[in-house]
C-alpha cells in the first residue's frame, strides 16, 4: 500500500509540472526546505529499524551455509533446486496474464467512467475496493466453491482470481493518473481533430498515463508473486507455495530466494522513481530557462 501512495503522488507531482501549475512546484520547494525537528528524526529512525532489521537478518542468513559461515552457496544453489524453475515460470506466466487482463479491464473502464458517467466514480471506486473489504480466506473459499471443475484443471484460472484481488491496486493507480490529467479536454481535442476512440486511447491517453500504468503493473506483479493461500488451496505450486514447501528442506536457500525477489522488486521500483524524478527535474530546468 505504501507503494501505491508514493507512486500516485509522484504521478500527480509530475503531471502538475506537465500542466504548468506553478503552485505545485512552489509547494514542492517549500516542502523540501522544511527542516525536520529531532523527534521526527527519532520516529523515522525507529520505523527504519523496524523495517531494516528483519531485512538485514534475512540477507545475513541467506549468505550463510549450514555451518554458519559466509558463503554464496545458497544463492548459487537456487537454480538447481527441484521445482524452483517450474514454480518461477508459473508465477511469471500468471503475472503476465493477470497484468494483461487487469489493464484491459481497468484502463477502458476508468476512462469511460471519467468521461461519460463521472457521477459513478465513487461507486466504481468502492466496488473495486471490495476485494480488500472481505477477508481473503472467505473470498478464496467462496471462489473455490463456485468455480466449475473444468476451470480448476488449468493453473491459469488463478489469474482470473488474481485480477479480482489486484483490482483495488490496479484501479487506484490508473485512476490517480487520470485524475491528474485533463482527460476530457485532451479527448475532445483529439476527437475534434478527427481522432477515433482507438487512436485517442492509443496516442493521447496511454502515453500520458505511463507512470500510473507502470506503478499499476508493478503492484499487480508484486501481488501475484506473493499470493500464497489461493494457489496452495487450489493445489498449484507457484513461487510462494514452492518457497513454503521448500522452507522445511533448506532455510538458507529459501531465504535467499525471498531476498532476491525483494531485491528485484526494489530495484524496479527505484528505477521508476528515479526516472520520474529526473524527468521532473529536467522539465523544471527547462521551464526556468524558458521563462
Amino acid at each position: 500500500m505504501a507503494q501505491v501512495d508514493t507512486a500516485s503522488i509522484d504521478a500527480e507531482y509530475l503531471l502538475a509540472f506537465d500542466r504548468g501549475a506553478p503552485e505545485a512546484s512552489m509547494v514542492a520547494k517549500q516542502r523540501r526546505r522544511f527542516s525536520i525537528p529531532w523527534f521526527r528524526w527519532l520516529v523515522l529512525l525507529l520505523a527504519a529499524l523496524f523495517f531494516i532489521i528483519p531485512l538485514v537478518a534475512g540477507v545475513i542468513f541467506s549468505l550463510q551455509n549450514d555451518a554458519g559461515q559466509f558463503s554464496l552457496d545458497s544463492i548459487r544453489a537456487i537454480n538447481q533446486q527441484i521445482g524452483f524453475s517450474d514454480a518461477f515460470r508459473l508465477s511469471l506466466q500468471l503475472a503476465l496474464i493477470t497484468v494483461v487482463i487487469s489493464m484491459a479491464l481497468v484502463v477502458p473502464t476508468a476512462v469511460y467512467v471519467h468521461l461519460k458517467v463521472p457521477k459513478l466514480l465513487a461507486a466504481v471506486e468502492f466496488t473495486t475496493l471490495l476485494p480488500i473489504v472481505f477477508p481473503p480466506i472467505v473470498l478464496i473459499l467462496g471462489v473455490l466453491h463456485v468455480t466449475p471443475p473444468f476451470l480448476k484443471d488449468h493453473a491459469w484460472f488463478l489469474a482470473l482470481f488474481y485480477v479480482v484481488l489486484a483490482m483495488p491496486f490496479a484501479y487506484r493507480a490508473v485512476e490517480s493518473g487520470l485524475q491528474a490529467m485533463d482527460l476530457q479536454v485532451l479527448v475532445e481535442a483529439s476527437r475534434s481533430l478527427g481522432g477515433r476512440w482507438g487512436s485517442t486511447l492509443l496516442r493521447v491517453i496511454l502515453p500520458n498515463l505511463t507512470t500510473s500504468l507502470i506503478s499499476s503493473v508493478v503492484l499487480v506483479t508484486a501481488l501475484v508473486f506473493s499470493e500464497y493461500t489461493m494457489s496452495s488451496l487450489a493445489g498449484w505450486i507457484t513461487l510462494p507455495v514452492w518457497t513454503e514447501q521448500f522452507a522445511q528442506a533448506n532455510g538458507h536457500i529459501v531465504t535467499a530466494v525471498a531476498m532476491l525477489t525483494l531485491l528485484g522488486v526494489w530495484v524496479v521500483l527505484s528505477l521508476i522513481v528515479l526516472v520520474d524524478l529526473s524527468r521532473a527535474r529536467l522539465q523544471q530546468r527547462k521551464r526556468s530557462s524558458t521563462s
Binding site: R19, G20, R191, L193, G194, R196, P207, K286, T290, S291
Partner: protein
C-alpha cells in the same frame, strides 16, 4: 451545397444582408446554421430555442455572462453535445447526428489542451496524422502553420516548455492544420495576462481574415467581442438577446440587458410631454426596441457616457463626485438627484471639473433607448 464546396460562385447561405469582409480572397470556411437548438441539463435550460446563421468566412462572437450557454452552443456545434431539439447545418448539410470526429471543426479550448506527450510540431500534425498524411507532408504542413502563428523556432518544444500564450498559439495552429470548415474558439485567451491577450486577439483576427475561415468565438469579455468580431451575438439564459455588428450593438442596443452588458450605461427617468419622452429637459424620440408606456407606467432612458454632456454651472443641479483619468478622455461620476451618471469628457475639459464642482447635464443625441424603470440604488 456539398460540405466541401468552396463558396466561389455560391451565395452565402441565405444571408444576403451579411456584412462581407472586404478582403479579396475567397472564404475557406462553410456557412453554419443553428436552428432552434435546445439543450437542458437537469433544471437548467442551457440553450433555449437558439437560432443563429453564420456566413462563410464570418467571425461571430458569442458574448454573455457566465452560465448563459455560450460553451454549450459551441459544444453542440462541435458535436460534443447532442441538442435535445433543433438542427446544426454546416455548408447546408445537416450534421446534428454526426460525431465530433467527423465534423471537420478545429477547436481551441479555454484550458491548455495540447497533448503533453508530443512536441509542438507533432501536436499541430496530429489532425493530419488522423487523416493518414505521410510523415514528411505532415511535418511540412505543421512547420508552415507554426510559422503562421509565429512559433517557427519553437517547433520541437514540448507543451510544458511553452508559455501560456505560446501554447494557445500552437493550439490554434493545430486547429487550423486540418483546414476545418469552422473554427471554434472557447475563451482561448481567458487564462492569459492582459498584454498577451491583446496581442493574441489581434493575431487571431488577422489570421482569420487572411484565411477567411468561418469562426465562432466565445467570450465573456465585451471588449474582446467588439474588437474582433464581424458580428456579436449577445446571449442571456440560453437565448439570443441581440445579434449585430459591433458598432450597431453598442450604439443601438435593443434591450436593456444588452445596453447594460455591452459598454457602460446610465439611467435617467423619462418624463412625457404629449406622448414624447423628455430627458434632461430635452425632447427625444424613442429608439426601436424601446419599451412602450402601455407595458410600464414609468420608463428610463439608457445613456452611454459619450451621449451626455456636462457644463460647469453654479446653479446646476448636478455635482461631480468622482473622476477617473483614462488617457484622452476622463470618466466623470456625476450625481443627479439620486442617480450617478457616468459621463466621458475630453481630459483637458475635465481638468476644470474637479469633484464637488456643480454642473449642468445635457444630451448629445436625442434618440434614446427607453427601458422599464428601475429605482436607483442608494449610494
Amino acid at each position: 451545397m456539398t460540405p466541401d464546396a468552396t463558396a466561389t460562385d455560391v451565395a452565402p447561405t441565405g444571408q444576403a444582408a451579411m456584412p462581407a469582409t472586404d478582403t479579396p480572397s475567397v472564404p475557406t470556411g462553410a456557412g453554419v446554421e443553428l436552428r432552434s437548438l435546445s439543450r437542458q441539463f437537469g433544471a437548467t435550460l442551457a440553450l433555449d430555442r437558439f437560432s443563429l446563421t453564420i456566413a462563410p468566412g464570418e467571425l461571430v462572437a458569442l458574448l454573455g455572462p457566465s452560465g448563459c450557454g455560450k460553451t454549450t452552443a459551441l459544444r453542440v456545434l462541435a458535436g460534443f453535445e447532442r441538442p435535445d431539439q433543433g438542427q446544426v447545418l454546416v455548408g447546408g448539410r445537416d450534421v446534428t447526428r454526426l460525431p465530433a470526429q467527423k465534423r471537420d471543426m478545429g477547436m481551441v479550448f479555454q484550458s491548455y489542451s495540447l497533448f503533453p506527450n508530443m512536441d509542438a510540431r507533432a501536436n499541430v500534425g496530429f489532425g493530419l496524422r488522423m487523416r493518414r498524411w505521410s510523415g514528411a507532408k505532415r511535418k511540412a504542413r505543421a512547420d508552415e502553420l507554426l510559422e503562421l502563428v509565429g512559433l517557427a523556432e519553437h517547433r520541437t518544444k514540448y507543451p510544458h516548455q511553452l508559455s501560456g500564450g505560446q501554447q494557445q498559439r500552437v493550439a490554434l495552429a493545430r486547429a487550423l492544420a486540418i483546414e476545418p470548415q469552422v473554427l471554434l474558439l472557447d475563451e482561448p485567451l481567458s487564462a492569459l495576462d492582459a498584454k498577451v491577450r491583446a496581442e493574441l486577439r489581434e493575431q487571431i483576427r488577422a489570421i482569420q481574415q487572411r484565411l477567411l475561415i468561418t469562426t465562432v468565438f466565445v467570450t465573456h469579455d465585451q471588449e474582446e467581442a467588439l474588437s474582433m468580431a464581424d458580428r456579436v451575438c449577445v446571449m442571456r439564459a440560453g437565448r439570443i438577446e441581440q445579434v449585430d455588428v459591433p458598432a450597431a450593438l453598442y450604439a443601438r442596443p435593443t434591450t436593456a440587458f444588452v445596453a447594460q452588458f455591452v459598454g457602460v450605461s446610465s439611467r435617467i427617468e423619462a418624463s412625457f410631454d404629449a406622448g414624447q419622452p423628455v430627458i434632461l429637459g430635452q425632447r427625444c424620440t424613442a429608439r426601436p426596441g424601446s419599451a412602450s408606456r402601455e407595458t410600464s407606467a414609468r420608463l428610463d432612458a439608457l445613456l452611454r457616457p459619450e451621449d451626455l454632456t456636462v457644463t460647469p454651472d453654479h446653479d446646476g443641479e448636478a455635482t461631480v463626485v468622482h473622476s477617473s483619468f483614462l488617457g484622452g478622455t476622463t470618466r466623470l461620476d456625476v450625481l443627479l438627484g439620486a442617480t450617478v451618471l457616468k459621463i466621458d469628457v475630453r481630459s483637458d475639459v475635465a481638468a476644470r471639473l474637479s469633484p464637488s464642482t456643480r454642473v449642468r447635464v445635457g444630451l448629445h443625441n436625442d434618440e434614446v433607448l427607453l427601458v422599464e424603470h428601475l429605482e436607483p440604488e442608494g449610494r
